[in-house]
Subunit: 141 residues, 2 copies
């Protein structure tokens, strides 16, 4: 009967909290738009960065190459994303939003912003420290 309590273990708390938030967030998008979280990440990154390669997304966002590739393929099949060969380096592929993709993102972003605001509101004064702590974890690599 050890005195080690899993629910007080920080890595567990982090994983559990992240899983809950992600699940709640994913529900909104799945039900209304049929979009998964990997797809959401690709869409948003394209909206933010314009024409971009798979490798670029893989490097900036926390996603495996294959995860990016498959998400991009699903989005392409759905008509939200377009693939073009890169002009100078033919190993690269330029991913970019189609007009339909841009319209989709325009509808997604306000929902995401509202979701985040509700989350932040529930955190109160600890919000800033949470952001700093998460940032430091990401730095530590």
């Amino acid at each position: 009967m050890s005195d080690f309590d899993l629910t007080e273990f920080l890595p567990y708390q982090l994983a559990a909290a992240a899983a809950r938030v992600s699940r709640a967030f994913a529900e909104r998008y799945r039900d209304d738009f049929g979009i998964s979280i990997p797809e959401w990440r690709v869409l948003v990154h394209l909206a933010h960065s314009g024409s971009v390669s798979v490798r670029e997304i893989h490097a900036r966002v926390e996603m495996d190459k294959s995860k990016v590739s498959r998400a991009a393929q699903r989005l392409t099949d759905a008509g939200y994303v377009e693939k073009r060969p890169h002009a100078e380096d033919r190993r690269l592929i330029d991913l970019r939003l189609t007009p339909a993709g841009q319209a989709l993102v325009a509808r997604l972003l306000p929902i995401a912003a509202q979701f985040q605001e509700e989350l932040i509101a529930s955190l109160g004064a600890d919000h800033a420290a949470l952001r700093r702590a998460l940032g430091r974890i990401m730095e530590t690599k």
Copy 2:
């Protein structure tokens, strides 16, 4: 070219940070003990709570029933966990650590404690606020 930056989106930061921590933590256990995170959670919960049912773990820890069941099965096959029918309610199964399981946990816990301490140390003054914030997320359900 929207101004929405995914890397500043709190649900993403949370998921990314949790993924990194979990991956680093899982590596230590996989390489040295061949234990996955679901298995680690079951082991620790058994060490903490003694004889316990699958449902109990499912309720306390953030894990699907089937995830608990399969982790418990792997641990049983490995000789770390023993299954006994519950005396009063035969739908329930009492999971408990074998001596080998207890010995394993005794080796795992110091590593976990050290891992957590390193993590906490890297967070500095924001540690307490992080714990509060994560706790509030879990409360909000």
